[in-house]
């Protein structure tokens, strides 16, 4: 049963493959997210309100509210603008830098994964993406919202700077199995067959 306070989060999914867009849309909707899919990085930026020069945010604040995006999940290998390029543009934008970004790829290239995580991606998922991978998303969204709130309330550097990425244990979501979440937070998941990558503390990378 969903908590009264829990609202639906809106995820923007970016992938040039039609099949993968259909899949990620279904995976996200099954996990109770609102979903918008686009087939390129430039369309994603447009949707997020970054103008043609990719530097200015949308001028109308009501437009931004309607299209509020709580997370971006993007494929890495895309023509013209890769998922990494998109990640950089989002993190360089003052309006969008707090939106958590997750990267997906069918190729397990450690250098690529590390670079994405170091440059601001919350998580790197190996394709094909599974239903269980969806459980990893909510904590990042909630953490991002916390940061937003903290940033508005005070100038606490620990939470609002992009350098520190301490995981905050959130007990709000009823969707997550608490054991699984605990395992995720502590970086322990001996039973997991497929690799997932996320950042714990600012400097070290934990392979789960």
């Amino acid at each position: 049963m969903a908590l009264a306070a829990e609202s639906q989060f809106h995820v923007l999914a970016v992938d040039d493959s039609l099949i993968d867009r259909k899949l990620i849309e279904r995976l996200l909707k099954t996990s109770s997210f609102l979903v918008t899919t686009v087939d390129s990085g430039s369309k994603a930026l447009k949707f997020l309100g970054l103008g043609e020069d990719h530097g200015s945010a949308a001028s109308s604040s009501s437009e931004q509210l309607e299209a509020e995006v709580n997370m971006v999940i993007t494929d890495y290998c895309m023509p013209e603008m890769t998922g990494y390029d998109l990640l950089k543009k989002i993190k360089e934008s003052s309006a969008l830098k707090n939106i958590p970004v997750v990267i997906m790829s069918s190729e397990n290239v450690p250098a690529r994964i590390n670079r994405c995580l170091e440059d601001g991606a919350e998580e790197f998922l190996l394709k094909p993406v599974k239903l269980s991978d969806m459980n990893k998303l909510r904590p990042h969204i909630l953490k991002g919202k916390c940061k937003d709130q903290q940033g508005k309330n005070n100038s606490n550097d620990d939470l609002s700077s992009s350098g520190s990425r301490d995981i905050i244990t959130i007990n709000a979501s009823s969707n997550l199995n608490s054991t699984k979440r605990k395992a995720m937070d502590e970086g322990l998941s001996p039973g997991r067959k497929r690799a997932g990558f996320s950042r714990k503390n600012g400097n070290s990378l934990t392979v789960l």
Binding site: L18, R26, L27, S106, K127, P128, L131
Partner: protein, 157 residues
């Protein structure tokens, strides 16, 4: 007797799926497609598979065209098409087709024209087999739904 028919189709489907898993033609990601189908998205599997067929056949045609002229084969482009086919095959659980693409990609990276032609033949063969079996699965499913539907028709309650 009403309702007995559905059971027979379910058995047929289990057997066919078990065979395809055993052969390595399909893997667990195909089952995930089934899990994602529900009342709100009742045709999800057939929609995705239809897209897969359409895209794959186009990719295979394109690759074959690229291999027509031995002298000016664009191996890089073949690699691009193969990556696309690998990705979509992997996404729907078409494990064997995906693996054949991996071997094919190696031949293209070595600019091995004869090797590419051989790989393409294998790929087309495995793709055909997959397509036929998936059609069989859909037919069995249709029969199962019909048989189950007869039992639960509102007028027969």
């Amino acid at each position: 007797m009403l309702g007995m028919g559905a059971g027979r189709w379910e058995e047929d489907m289990s057997h066919l799926l078990a065979l395809l898993f055993h052969q390595g033609v399909l893997d667990e990601h195909f089952m995930q497609l089934q899990q994602l189908q529900d009342e709100s998205s009742p045709n999800f599997v057939s929609e995705v598979i239809s897209i897969y067929f359409r895209e794959s056949e186009k990719l295979l045609r394109n690759i074959r065209t690229l291999l027509l002229d031995r002298e000016c084969t664009d191996y890089r482009k073949i690699g691009v098409y193969l990556n696309h086919l690998m990705g979509s095959s992997s996404s729907i659980g078409a494990n064997l087709v995906r693996n054949v693409c991996v071997a094919f990609r190696a031949a293209s990276e070595h600019c091995n024209w004869a090797g590419c032609l051989r790989s393409l033949a294998v790929l087309e063969h495995e793709y055909c087999y997959l397509k036929n079996k998936l059609h069989e699965l859909f037919q069995i499913e249709q029969q199962r739904v019909l048989a189950a539907g007869v039992r639960y028709h509102p007028l027969l309650q």
